[in-house]
Subunit: 250 residues, 2 copies
DNA sequence: TAAATAGTGTCTATTAGACATTATCTA
DNA sequence: TAGATAATGTCTAATAGACACTATTTA
């Protein structure tokens, strides 16, 4: 389980921050010599997940330089000296997507020496769940080297970001039935079918419609908005809203 | 949620490692001025828990200097430049207790600026579960400023180590019924009553004897050693052993 | 034989899962 | 009225929890 700084922003700073790391294997020897005088760098990576095209997707960045040049990576960057870890994660998120006020959770800290060939890096990984509506607003800003991928159909990833994504998925799955974490992937109002799709995408398996609705409605965490969602040539679906007052019931 | 380095070992290095932090509030101003040239310190703290005197206890260290002088704290220290986080945690454990090969799990990383008045510190917290037998071996080595406390009867703690301990307890509770984490607090062979006590201490409530035994035995994770534990003037109890092959059944 | 803890079973309520039909809307 | 998705209930199996007595050992 490894990874490291990789947004364009982070890469720039990697150059200036550590007295210019040479991009050769000699870098390693250099650092070992100086190890007693050096401190590890601390970075924050942010796994940004959302629902796009009825798919659970993650935002990745294409690396433009060594190491892992040309491969896709989880966005991240250095933590400023006087900035909290969570603030650093929010800053990354803002830089990559422009959104704020989202669900943000610390996932795990990866710190094995040697996982980044440039220097010793300790990375605190956070993950973010974005609802699909906010995302549409920013869809246009996607650059060529930033792209969304289905979590179930990933390109080759830099560092061991594949493990980080698996770890994220497992965390999500584990929390699915005793928290309201899934609601963070939906806009304020949603249909039961949409909620079911979120569960199905995270668990990566089909759920029984009747049992799902029965169980969710029994908890009382949803309240009927009275509104209906009409789309296509069929019966419209009720729109529900999450009722935070009943969060404890899940 | 905060904390920081506090073993005697860590404290010594705190002096030499950060160009001698003055023990006054001026320290803060100094660091802010220099913030763009500085990196956070990275420390590892280790919550060491064990069963002692039929109680769930945690190992704490009395601080000998500012900040929080005289208060009790979770042991910890700096991460060496070429040492993994887990190795740093194991080293701390070894220094404090002399034991090795124990259950070790990363808990959470605390990194808010200002939680340590000396400098910016990012602390990765691990927790360790020790079985009671190993502990007895080392009981004699306890120094005056190292002591065990019941997790349900703690002294005033330095930093916000109280929150860290609560966090640890919650993690333990959460994992209790879908992992075999509790077994790490017991020696290789144990009676069902002893196992029940572990669950009761972690959950901090009484469990029904029949239901508990029924449930545990139904999983098949225990195997009867054939041996019995006789103590006191009453019927001896069967000794069981954890069967790792059946771990998935829990 | 008294004291102390080990060891055991039943009944009930709740929950999880399998499963198929009717309702309502638009084109 | 055809096509499409929404909405709904029953039965069964498994699980969780309440609850009290007998078994075995030593002093």
């Amino acid at each position: 389980m490894e990874e490291h700084s990789n947004s364009s922003n982070a890469k720039e700073r990697a150059q200036s921050n550590s007295s210019a790391e040479p991009r050769t294997e000699e870098a390693k020897a250099h650092h070992y010599d100086a190890s007693k005088y050096q401190r590890p760098s601390v970075t924050v990576d942010v796994v940004i997940m959302s629902l796009r095209q009825k798919d659970l997707q993650v935002l990745l960045i294409k690396r433009r330089s060594w190491p892992f040049e040309g491969m896709w990576a989880i966005p991240g960057g250095f933590v400023n000296f006087d900035e909290s870890l969570e603030d650093a994660a929010k800053r990354e998120l803002q830089e990559e997507t422009g959104v704020q006020d989202v669900y943000l959770e610390q996932l795990y800290t990866f710190g094995d020496p040697g996982r980044d060939p440039r220097t010793r890096v300790i990375t605190v990984v956070y993950f973010v769940l974005l609802d699909s509506e906010r995302l549409q607003v920013r869809a246009a800003s996607d650059a060529a080297d930033v792209s969304w991928f289905s979590v179930y159909d990933l390109p080759p990833l830099a560092f061991d970001h594949e493990k980080v994504l698996n770890y994220t998925l497992n965390r999500l799955r584990g929390k699915l039935d005793y928290t309201t974490i899934a609601f963070n992937l939906l806009p304020e109002q949603f249909t039961l079918r949409e909620l079911q799709r979120v569960y199905e995408m995270i668990l990566h398996k089909k759920l029984d419609k009747r049992n799902f609705r029965k169980k969710i409605l029994a908890t009382g965490i949803l309240e009927d908005t009275g509104a209906k969602k009409m789309e296509g040539t069929h019966r419209p679906a009720r729109l529900y809203r999450f009722n935070p007052a009943a969060e404890h019931k899940l």
